[in-house]
Amino acid sequence: MARYILWRVLQAIPVLIGTTFLIYFMVFAMPGNPLLALFGDRTPNPALLERLEEQYHLNEPFLVQYWYYLSGIFQGDFGTSFTGEPTTEILARTFPVTIRLAVLALIIQGVLGILVGLVSGLRKGKFFDSSALAVSLLLISLPIFVIAFLAQYVFGIELGWARTTVGSGAPWADLILPAFVLASVSFAQIVRLTRASVIETKSLDFVRTAYGKGLGRNRVVPVHILRNSLIPVTTYLGTDFGVLLVGATVTEGIFNVPGVGRTLFQAILRGEGPTVVSFVTVMVLIYLVVNLVIDLLYAVLDPRIRYVK
């Protein structure tokens, strides 16, 4: 097991380097001089411009710029934004907010999706199942910003249950409504997946045997049907965590959440290479870690899987 984890961590290194390289290259290839854009309509002092270019290594060829950046990372220096704030500080300020939002959304869609999927699967073809299907289809077909505005209007303004925008520091309570909106994207997916998995599992031989040996329904459903159905759902939830981080961009924009999405969006517009790359790198890192955790969890959920390497 330890060997497997070590192997996976080693595997992550080329992935990380490759990602930073690609993103750095894309930012580099963007048209326009980012510094000029910073000055807006005014023509900057050429000497100042030159000094800034030197400071940010913008006058060097691409590979040299990339090298400066990469060697900086290994010294714990993720560069500074054009506003002079170190990228590490921006990361430390925004990532906890977005991760909080994504985790909240993950819990909401996990708990609700699995519950609805389980009941649908057990009552295949009945009223509950059909209604759940209709609701899921509706949620899939609505773009997330429509759901966000609707939620803002209904729960924030009409009912007054929640604040329409998230306050500074992004307290948990403020994040609940955006988290529900964010969760709605994959909710339907999880319902369908759980439902299909439950339908398959409940007709397996060992479920009949479980009843045959005298177990009641209250034991067979959670212990033998749900437990086994969770294996594919767990994998999905893992990959979905990445989707939630990305999906947060739109939601964060609408609910004014001071998270990664908004900051990254602005950094891309400004062409701030180091900031963009740092954000994406951390996202990739999170994605890799979550997937490793999911793979390890998979072995816990399904004892037939053993990692050797």
Binding site: D205, T209, K213, N228, P303
Partner: protein
């Protein structure tokens, strides 16, 4: 049937006029149509029938575990005088496990793969209130498993089902079924997925356990020989009805219903046993049984085979010389072990004859077949087909070799593409090898369908519309499409019902005589070997332990292992026709 019962006690289980139907789009489809049977306390009764006869449905109806939309539509199931069909869910949960135990069919799929074996035994014990408290339940679980023949139960309680062999898992399931000392045990084909020798050990053990505890057993099986071996009374079911019932010996010796007669005639275990009985016996039986049997007769087929064997030329079609296959198995901590799956195997098959390669699972017989088909590389040794060593072939030569040698696999459900029509499936090898125009191919497909005795109208049908036997005929037709000289049959009839099996075996024999085919017949079932093979090679642990003509192997087995295999054939111990 009740007429033969003179006992004064009331039956433990009394099924009266039971009807079970499945709700489908087209209305209620009956699966069980008026079954009557009764089991006395401590008695063993076997229901025999082919798949679809309603035998498993009857068993599942008793404990209200009918799959899908199935339900009891009429009749009574009296257990100790109480009608089980009137119980609500909670009452039924009190009957299951506690009063009526279940040992299911397939040990591979009947244990939940994600829970340890101990957990699954313990939850049954707790649910039935046999013991309470962590320690007591655990102790009871160990005792139950030890009784079921799992000697190292205390150390293996924490292990998961996949770490157990099939036989061991079946012991676990038997342990669970008997864990709360039920009065009735329903054993639904409890050993059909296991090797014969394992089957014998487990059933012997089960008989001892239930005998000691006075448990009545309802034994469900498709194997008449097995049923007669294990039960005092037989109930033969066909298309949802009981066609014959009575004491086992009486039914075997003097079957009344035409279906039972066909079943007795076709049962390979019984047939082979009778062929083995020499001279006079054979004749007296052959005139007795086939005269009445409407279906195929394996005894006749067996007789044909022995004529055929003499006519075969000595020129070998396949020569296998010192064949060895090693697999590397990854062990813990980066080490690897070498498993010798096939160990120095040599044999040759003369053209136009059949060699059976017999062995239990894990004996290496399928690996030999895979190497022969060049689906697996050879570690050492050589395989020569028609005088050509197949090791040195390039892609093109291999391609033409494949047209001369075709496989038929075990699972008629898995080996046909569900999205391809029967016509397209059979024509596929012709298309791949670019044989003929499309009109010629169509003609060839029709000819092939005719050869395997399938109606032409099946051309446009799809595999899911066919029965298992029909599918296996399609697989055979596909194998014959390129007019091969050699057919490798890997457990080709193992998944089929006895009557269908007999038909396919007869078909194979006819095709061989007609087309001078050479068969390599791989099977774990010694009973069918007798009727199909000219020579037999018995494999165990990668080696051939005995190789001789079929008559020699059956009449005078030299190796203990071969003798064990022969004795384990169900029904072998029945002195029929004596």
């Amino acid at each position: 049937m009740s007429g033969t019962m003179t006992s004064a006690t009331t039956p433990l289980l009394d099924i009266r006029d039971l009807h079970v139907g499945f709700q489908t789009k087209d209305g209620l489809v009956p699966a069980v149509r008026g079954v009557d049977l009764s089991i006395m306390p401590g008695e063993t009764l076997a229901i025999v029938g082919e798949s679809g006869s309603g035998k498993s449905t009857t068993a599942h109806a008793i404990i209200d575990l009918l799959p899908g939309s199935g339900r009891v539509t009429q009749g009574k199931i009296l257990f100790e005088g109480r009608d089980l069909t009137t119980l609500d869910r909670r009452e039924m949960e009190g009957v299951r496990g506690k009063l009526i135990g279940l040992v299911p069919q397939d040990p591979m799929s009947n244990l939940n793969p994600v829970w340890s074996v101990g957990f699954q035994v313990e939850e049954a014990i707790r649910a039935n209130g046999v013991a309470s408290g962590r320690k007591e339940v655990r102790e009871h679980a160990i005792r139950v498993l030890k009784e079921a023949g799992l000697d190292d139960a205390d150390t293996r309680l924490k292990q998961f089902p996949h770490q157990f062999s099939g036989g061991m898992r079946q012991r676990v399931l038997i342990g669970i079924g008997l864990s709360s000392r039920p009065k009735l045990l329903i054993a639904d084909e409890p050993t059909s997925a296991l090797d014969v020798t394992v089957q014998k050990r487990i059933l012997d053990h089960l008989a001892t356990l239930t005998g000691d505890a006075g448990t009545a057993v309802l034994f469900i099986t498709h194997d008449l020989g097995l049923a007669a071996d294990r039960a005092e009374k037989l109930v033969v079911m066909y298309k949802g009805r009981v066609v014959e019932a009575g004491p086992s010996r009486q039914i075997l010796e003097d079957p009344q219903h035409p279906y039972t007669q066909r079943l007795v005639a076709a049962a390979p275990s019984l047939a082979s046993r009778r062929i083995q009985a020499s001279g006079g016996h054979l004749e007296s039986i052959t005139h007795e049984t086939p005269a009445r049997s409407a279906g195929v007769d394996l005894i006749a087929a067996g007789g044909e085979r022995s004529h055929h064997a003499h006519a075969a030329s000595a020129e070998p079609a396949i020569v296998v010389d010192h064949l060895t296959k090693e697999f590397k198995i990854r062990g813990g901590k980066g080490t690897s072990k070498v498993l010798r799956a096939v160990d120095d195997v040599s044999f040759s098959i003369p053209r136009g004859t059949t060699m059976a390669l017999v062995g239990e699972s894990g004996s290496g017989k399928t690996t030999v077949a895979r190497m022969l088909l060049k689906l697996e590389s050879i570690t050492s040794g050589s395989i020569t087909i028609d005088g050509t060593d197949i090791a040195g072939l390039n892609r093109r030569q291999l391609f033409s070799l494949r047209s001369k040698m075709q496989p038929v696999f075990q699972d008629p459900y898995g080996s046909l593409d569900p999205l391809r029509s029967i016509g397209a499936t059979i024509a596929e090898p012709l298309v791949t090898h670019n044989v003929g125009t499309s009109a010629e191919r169509r003609a060839r497909v029709r000819e092939l369908l005719d050869q395997v005795a399938l109606p032409e109208k099946l051309i446009g049908r799809f595999p899911n519309e066919l029965s298992g036997g029909q599918r296996q005929r399609v697989a055979i037709a596909r194998a014959l499409a390129l007019k091969p000289e050699i057919v490798v049959l890997d457990e080709a009839v193992s998944a089929l019902d006895v009557l269908v099996q007999a038909q396919i075996l007869t078909l194979l024999a006819e095709l061989q005589a007609e087309l001078n085919l050479t068969y390599l017949f791989i099977t774990h079932d010694l009973a069918v070997v007798r009727v199909i093979a000219d020579t037999v090679a018995v494999m165990s642990k990668g080696r051939i332990v005995e190789a001789a003509t079929t008559d020699e192997v059956f009449g005078n087995p030299r190796e203990t292992y071969t003798r064990e295999l022969l004795e384990a054939i169900p029904g072998a111990g029945l002195a029929l026709g004596a």
